[in-house]
Symmetry: C2
Subunit: 357 residues, 2 copies
DNA sequence: TTGTAGGCGTTATCAA
DNA sequence: TTGATAACGCCTACAA
């Protein structure tokens, strides 16, 4: 690729001005048919493809929407040393590697985002990074007309900074006093319904909550859990039973409880991913679900349907959340107002892990 | 957003030239610490975010890789009239809509593509469209440093046109005399292994192939099927038993065979999606799988593990294909040569639909 | 209907 | 170490 073909090349070859070339592509009816053919022929002959950058610069908009994820959600394979192609293929065919964990909830939101963007004729730019303040997300922000992000290591300041340039939507993060648009679900009522089921239907009296309060939505879920216990006249714990969740010392309190033989009768996990990890752990210790312990999740990811037993969980409308984000962004770009906060409903899905299904 | 903040604004506020602003961001060590702080403070105060378009234009590269899909792979929801948010959410929570069909094989390839792009510090641009010759894909090509595409309605001429500007990788399309890079799997041996299993292990003598030869890879699968039958001394059909596959008159020959009561003993479907549709159809007609008919797929998509019975299929290393595409593109961009064609291995996965698992 | 010319925001070259 | 200034490729009034 020696020299990229430009309007100048096409213009020269067609014997017209660069303006005519541009017109031919942007307002074909404005140019005489014969001239148009001339230009198109030249463009074809030269392999002309308009530069997106130049176009974006000239028009001030790129027609792209961005979706940004922080490392928090990236499969470990991202940071792993580069594997050879052979190794990659072998791992995948063996059913190892992160293909196993696909799709996560972020992928489901992303899918909805893509669908809606296509429907509205916009391209999607995907970015990712670890940086809590650095340029990671910022440079994506400079290339899109609107940006949606997953909650993560980004500092509020960064987000506000970015938000001054383009509209921003953030998922699963409670509304705050910021200029961003928030999309969340009704976490508290959802967990209450779940606990009602465990206590009311199954009659469990010893129910515990597992999850790290670090993630923004988890706090709301825990509050819903506490409220539900209180409503049933059960003792309310001030903190999650196991807050180590998915960190290094993963599930240590849970392992301790198993060893001590005083496991709660039901474990309400803050996310499906966590619940699946718990199922694994329990299985390794020879504990049966749901006979010995009931386990529930939150999210409704695909893997939860594939597990044994399948997961009782709260299904979130992930794809709709992604689609809504696109609508908010395109509307905002077009100057139409949108509420700063959307709270979507969820649904209790009964599986085998609580004793139903 | 009145006026986008530019280097000029930052430069003025910091009392330096625009060159210094640029240097501060691109080569911080080249600028005196005090000056740097001055610039950064100004940038922060003004909410400065560098324009991706301007950067791309000036540097001649965007650091983005493109992934293009044709309508062929898009969920029907893309073309459906816009649903209200409430309807979208309701459908999704009810388990209807296309969330059910996610992820398809394209999504798995895309996932691998994204993972590898992140690893290599590149952003991903997603595009889609129906146009068989139009600008749909071309404009994406003008915005990226490299492009990967799914086979579809794109004419060879379009692809060649695009290929003159940026390196192009195409999936699941047999190598041809073009300048593109091709990534495929060993279709023929895979199907042979599958047929060997059906004939050798299960003893089926009446085996038929379902699939439309339109898609590029399917032809190879059918040839593998024919070769396998021949090797077993079974009669070889010149054409697929049911070539209507997923089109309008979907599975009509199959329905006819059911009505006539002369269904083959085993149905080898060209893809998992097709096999799942066949499972549905058979169930509606009260036929049991695998007792009455054995069914197999090809791809190894997630939905095939969720079906009842689970699908016996040929697993493709989709994520690895996506990752390989990124490697080919980045290498080619960097001037490193790559083979024009990669043929990856597959694996036979036994499920309940053939009578195993 | 076609052409001229200015501007979009950065980067890079070369001086100062 | 910092600053002019010329690209980069396209779009779009405005003129011809």
């Amino acid at each position: 690729m020696a020299h990229r073909t430009t309007v100048y090349d096409v213009a020269e070859r067609a014997g017209v001005s660069i303006a005519t070339v541009s017109h031919t592509f942007r307002q074909p009816e404005r140019v005489r048919p014969e001239t148009r053919e001339l230009v198109l022929a030249a463009a074809r002959a030269l392999g002309y493809v308009p530069s997106g950058s130049a176009r974006g610069l000239a028009k001030g908009r790129s027609q792209a929407l961005g979706l940004y994820a922080f490392d928090m959600f990236l499969p470990s394979d991202v940071n792993a040393p580069a594997l050879s192609l052979d190794d990659l293929v072998r791992r995948e065919l063996d059913g190892r590697g992160d293909a196993r964990r696909f799709p996560l909830y972020v992928d489901e939101i992303q899918h909805g985002f893509e669908i809606e963007a296509r429907r509205l004729g916009r391209t999607v730019m995907l970015g990712a990074g670890a940086s809590r303040d650095s340029l990671g997300s910022i440079d994506l922000a400079g290339s899109v007309d609107g940006l949606a992000i997953f909650p993560g290591s980004a500092g509020r300041d960064l987000l506000e900074h970015v938000g001054r340039g383009v509209p921003v939507v953030i998922f699963s993060s409670p509304p705050a006093h910021d200029p961003m648009h928030h999309i969340t679900v009704a976490n508290e009522p959802a967990v209450r319904e779940l606990v009602d089921h465990l206590v009311g239907h199954h009659g469990h009296r010893s129910v515990a909550f597992l999850g790290e309060l670090a993630a923004p939505d988890i706090g709301a879920r825990f509050r819903g859990f506490q409220a539900a216990l209180a409503a049933h006249g059960l003792p309310v714990s001030a903190e999650p039973f196991d807050a180590t969740a998915m960190t290094q010392d993963s599930l240590r309190p849970l392992r301790a409880a198993i060893a001590a033989g005083d496991l709660p009768r039901a474990l309400v996990c803050a996310t499906d991913q966590l619940a699946l990890a718990v199922l694994d752990l329990l299985a390794r210790h020879g504990l049966r679900v749901p006979e010995d312990v009931a386990v529930t999740g939150f999210d409704g990811i695909v893997a939860g349907r594939l597990s044994e037993p399948s997961l009782t969980t709260i299904r979130q409308p992930f794809a709709s959340m992604g689609r809504l984000a696109v609508r908010i962004l395109t509307d905002t770009i077009a100057g139409r107002e949108h509420p700063r906060s959307y709270v979507l409903p969820t649904r209790l899905v009964l599986g085998g892990s609580c004793g139903c299904g």
